[in-house]
Every structure is written in C-alpha cells, then in structure tokens.
C-alpha cells in the first residue's frame, strides 16, 4: 500500500516538469532528521533550489539502520529516487556492481574533483573499477569525546583532558548523581564507541592491521586486550543511561545529566542547536585526548540510474552543487562536520571544528570502519558490542575472542 502511494507521488512529480520547462523535481532521500541535521540539509535544498530545480525532501527517520533498507529496496525494486545519501564506502558497493547506480565520472572530471577533494581517500571510496559513483559531501569523524562542563563543575572535579582522567573522574560524577558516560541503546553506538577506543588506545597501526588487513592474530592479541579493558571501564560508566537514540544521549550531556559521550562530530550540531558554546559549555577531545587521529568516513550522495533525461541532467547539477564551496561551507557549519575540499574558508568554524581541521591538515587520518568492513561484519560487531555493553557478566576476554572470530571471517 505504502509503495503504491509512493509510486503515485512519484508519478505526480514526473508529470509536472512537462508543464514548467527546465525546473525539475528531484527526490532526495536521507536520514538526517535530528535538529542539527535537518538544519544542515535545508542548506543543501536551498542551494539546489537556487539552480532553478526543486529539491523534494525524502527524509527517513530512524537513522541509517532503518533508512538504508528502504533506500536499497526502492532502488533494487525499480522505483529509484533521484539521489540518496549513503555513508560512502561499501554500503552501495553491490548496487554499483549490478549497474543500478549512475556513473559520475564526467561531472567529476569536468569539475576536477580529483584536485579539490581532500583527503583523496574520500574520492577513492566513491571509485569502483576506475569510475566515480558518488559525490562526497562531508567528512565525519567518530573519534570525539564530548564533555559537559556543567556536569564536572557540579561533581567538583576539573574537566578531564583525556580518557584516563575521565575514567578517574567517574566515581565523583556518580556520587553527584550524574551518569559518567552516555551510551544510547542503538547497537551501532556501542560498536562505534569501541572503534574509537581502539584508535585512541591501540593506535593507528593496530587499527589498520585489524580492520584493513583483517589480521585476526592482532585482533586476539594483547593490544586489543587493552582496548577491551577500556571498553569494560566504559561499560561500567555507561550504566544507567537508559536512552535509545544518539541525540537523546547527547541531550543528556547537553543538560548536564551525563558527564560525556563518545560520539562522532555530528553530535556537535546538537550542541550548537541548543545554543551551547564550544570551550565554555562543553569540551571536545578528538581521539579521546590520547591519540589525535580522526577517521574520514562521512556521507556521500549516490545517484541511481534514471531513464528520464531531464532528471539525469538535473542529477549532474545536484552533484556539482553539492561540492560548490558555498554549499560546503553552509552545510558543514550547520552539520558540525568538515568540508570535503581543503580550499574553502571556514572562518566561522568553532573551536572543535578548528581542532578537526588542524588534525586533517596534519594528515592524521584513518579510513572509517564503514569504508573498511562490509555491512555484514559491521552488523556482527554491533551484535557483539550491544551485548557486551548491556550484559555485565560477559567478560572482556570472551568478547575479544568473539571479536577475533568476526575479524577472521570478514571479507
């Protein structure tokens, strides 16, 4: 039923353009629905509307896990939207391989994406067999610890400067009735927090050995054992954060009910929307303050192959609009993420974003786990870590054994 009404709505959008010349409606699906995200996506829509076309917003609530199956089944089911968000990397790999997605190489060469997109790994993730299939729009890094200054003031301890100090401050926070670490119940949050702990504690090389080379011996070894030890600490500190969504967890930090949260830089948009100031109301520690490395995963737009020529042309316009310097600045300031081109001026960026830009300029970057692992391995990791974080009777050793098995089976 739902599909049919969607199809009807789509059919209506197809009929319209014949009346009004040139103005083409493009339906764009994405899962940016939290306050900060919605404000950012409105910037993209504005920029695209300015080209004389019309952005038809197809927001799907419930984060990527809910949205991606809907997007994929629409594309494979023969009812594609004009453009859709994915995390670039391996999520859309098979769609591209089976010829359902549009090749953007022409636009990319014309606009010289190879030169302007920094770091180059972003465009690499969009490239399959030498052709470019997506337009990266931002860089999102996972490796951030967000701290509520008010919470630490209430507990009477100074705001920590790194993970170890944070762990040490946990008892004081608990005494003041504050949950030290907010972790939402959605499985990807626990898995993501673990990946962050891994870069921070075991370092960049180990991270790459495990996730890029899938070295199961390293995954079962002493370095990763240390990471599981830290995850065990995190599990103890996260007890009592009875929330589901990541932005609810961020909200606990914003309101000072929780001490901190390990979350990607998209959390920044929430702080901004709540009118908080970096350095004054909240503190951010990239790489948990231990190892200042950030991952360069992020969001990209993929364009399904469409038959309608007008729409195909408009897709090109949309792709080039997304990478325009003005769009990049406006969008990323609202979103709290970093722009994909190194040549734009982000004077308006706040402290945290500047820290991120610095690290990016220094080249302390890693690929994100979405780029390195298949969705299948990611899901198995999510199952493992959501169980680990919720079940105190699961020992770090057992968890590590299962983790090594997942890495061994990963492709």
């Amino acid at each position: 039923m739902k599909l049919r009404s969607l199809a009807a709505a789509l059919a209506a959008t197809v009929v319209l353009p014949f009346g009004a010349a040139n103005a083409v409606d493009l339906e764009v699906t994405h899962w940016w629905t939290s306050g900060g995200e919605a404000a950012a996506v409105a910037e993209l829509a504005k920029a695209f509307d300015a080209t004389g076309n019309k952005w038809v917003d197809g927001a799907i609530a419930g984060s990527g896990g809910t949205a991606r199956p809907i997007m994929i089944s629409r594309i494979t089911g023969g009812d594609p939207m004009a453009a859709t968000q994915f995390n670039h990397g391996r999520q859309a790999e098979e769609l591209v391989q089976s010829g359902l997605m549009r090749d953007l190489t022409d636009v990319a060469t014309r606009e010289n994406w190879k030169e302007i997109v920094k770091p180059a790994s972003l465009l690499e993730s969009c490239t399959i067999e030498g052709k470019i299939y997506c337009a990266p729009v931002n860089i999102h890094s996972w490796q951030w610890l967000w701290l509520s200054n008010a919470a630490f003031k209430q507990a009477g301890v100074p705001v920590p400067k790194n993970w170890d100090e944070f762990v040490a401050a946990a008892p004081a926070l608990e005494k003041a009735g504050i949950v030290p670490l907010a972790v939402g119940g959605q499985p990807w949050q626990a898995a993501g927090a673990f990946d962050v702990l891994m870069v921070a504690i075991a370092g960049k090389d180990t991270f790459e050995k495990v996730f890029a080379q899938k070295d199961e011996e390293v995954a079962a070894g002493p370095d990763i054992a240390k990471v599981f030890k830290a995850a065990d600490d995190a599990r103890g500190m996260a007890k009592g954060s009875n929330v589901q969504d990541w932005n609810q967890a961020t909200n606990l930090v914003i309101t000072g009910k929780a001490g901190g949260q390990i979350m990607g830089d998209w959390a920044q948009g929430e702080f901004q929307l709540a009118g908080q100031k970096a350095g004054v109301d909240y503190t951010c520690l990239p790489g948990l303050g231990v190892n200042e490395v950030i991952s360069t995963g992020g969001d990209a737009f993929y364009f399904p192959l469409l038959e309608d020529e007008e729409k195909s042309k408009a897709q090109e316009q949309l792709a080039s609009t997304l990478l325009k310097p003005e769009t990049q600045v406006a969008f990323n300031l609202k979103k709290g993420s970093l722009p994909v081109r190194g040549d734009v001026d982000l004077a308006a960026a706040n402290d945290c974003m500047k820290k991120g830009l610095d690290i990016l300029a220094k080249g302390n970057v890693i690929k994100g786990t979405d780029q390195l692992l298949s969705a299948d391995s990611q899901k198995q990791k999510e199952d493992l870590f959501s169980e680990f974080f919720a079940n105190p009777s699961m020992t770090p050793e057992d968890a590590q054994k299962r983790f090594a098995e997942i890495i061994a089976a990963a492709d």
Binding site: G65, R68, P69, I72, S73, T76, Q91, E93, E94, L95, S98, G185, Q186, P187, N242, Q244, S374, A375, D376, Q378, K379, Q380, D383, S386, E387, F388, F389, A390, N391, R402, A409
Partner: protein
Amino acid sequence: MTGQTRGSARPNQWLRNLNAKIASIPMILTAVVIFLGGTAWTVLYSFTNSKLLPRLSFVGLDQYERLWAAPRWLVSIENLAIYGLLSLIFSLVIGFVLAALMDQKIRFENTFRTIMLYPFALSFIVTGLVWQWLLNPQYGIQSIVRSLGWTSFNFDPLYNSDIVIYGILIAALWQGTGLVMCLMLAGLRGIDEDIWKAARVDGIPMWKTYVLVIIPMMRGVFITTLVIIASGIVKVYDLVVAQTSGGPGIASEVPAKYVYDYMFQAQNLGQGFAASTMMLVTVAIIIVPWAYLEFGGGRKRA
C-alpha cells in the same frame, strides 16, 4: 451438462465440475507460484552466499553453520521458546477462565466482552509503545507506585536483561487474551444446555464439569485457538521492535528480527534466508501434526 457427463461411458475425473476448477485456477496459481515458489526460492538461496542481491553461488551449509554458532540467534531461539511456551499457557488459561466467567449469564456481558477484546484491535506497534511507557521506570508503573509512598519499589523489566522477555510477554498477553476469550466463549456457547442440566442433576461440581466434560467437548475450538496463538508466537517481531528493539543488548531478540536485520541491515541475504528457513521448519513442526490430526485422522474416524 451434468447429464452429458453422466451419460458418457467413462467420466473423466479431471473434467468433473469443470467450472469450479477453472474458477479456482487463479487461487491455485497464487498458492503454487507465490507461496510454494517463494518458499522454494528462499530455501534454495539459503545455500548461497548472497549478499545485498541474490546470486547463485552455492556454499553448502555454511550459512546454517554460522547461524547456529551466532550467540544472537541462540538467544533469539531461547527467547522464542520461553515466550512461546508461557504465552501459550497463559493465554489459554486466562482466556478460558475469562470466558467461563463471562458464561455465567452475568449482566453487561456485551460491555465486558468489548472491553476485553479492545486491546486486540490495537496493532502490536501501539501495544508495544503503550507498554514501553508503562514499564519505563521514570514514567510508568514504578514511578506511580513510588509516588504513592513505596519508594523502594522496583519494576523495570524492560531494562533488565534477565527478565526483559517477561516484560514483552505481559504486553502480548494483554493484547491477545481477549481474542482467545472470544473464541472460547463461542465454544462454550456451542455446548448443549442439556449437558449442564445433566451434570447438575448428577450433582457434579461445576469445576469438575468444566474440566472433565466441557473442555474435552471443545477440542475443535482448542485446536483452532492453539494454531492461531502458535503462528502469532513464531512471527512475533513488531512488539519487540516497539518495546525494546531487541535490547538491552541482545537480551530480547527474536528470530524474525534476526531475519530482518541480517537481510536488510547487514546486507546478507543468505544468512537471512537460512534463518527464515529455520523458522519455516519450526512452523512446519507445529502445523504438520495439527493438519494430520485434523484432516488425516478425522477422515478415518468419519
């Protein structure tokens, strides 16, 4: 037409009642192509390593081996067993007791029946959300009892891994017993008044009449109810999604959710198909004996 058929020397079995057979072709095609065909397709592809899109590269029993080694699948099966057994017992017992009470020619029976049946009109998603709020320690039952003065009262099944499945069971019973009650009530109404009169004349106590006479007479109703409840148990999904989304951790996962998550989120169709084939086997284990009893055994007796 019938006359002609009867007149011919050897009536063809296949041409008898031709109109009815032609009319049922669409239904037969639907059953064969969509149900049987779809099932066979799923089972076939469960032996492949299909990822996001189905493809025929066979890997033998790999998917099944991985399935039965996955802790999450084992938890799902265990949850289904607990949930299934208890919801079967409780919904039958509660449903029957309610129906028996309703059958005592009470006043306002219609009103009570409507009230009892109302939860069934709600979808599982709504039921799940309502009970998520009721069982939430900050807003629900726990906070109400605490605000009445019993401050150490603790009731948060949805946030405790050990008992979360019972929290889901409560919601399922609240939703489902009304229907069981109605089915039972219909069965009770089908019992001849004379049986009750005879039992009363013989001085048999009421509970004994129910247990020894009435329930055995209601065999058909019980079997129908059993099948309805059992199929509801195997496919439980939306209730869990609405109440806990499988949490805390993986403590309230169920097989149907495993199938969905692996097919669509993990983009691993092979694994999802293997899991759904196992679910089909479970259903077959329930349905086949029932069908045998109802149709095979029944014909012999008649």
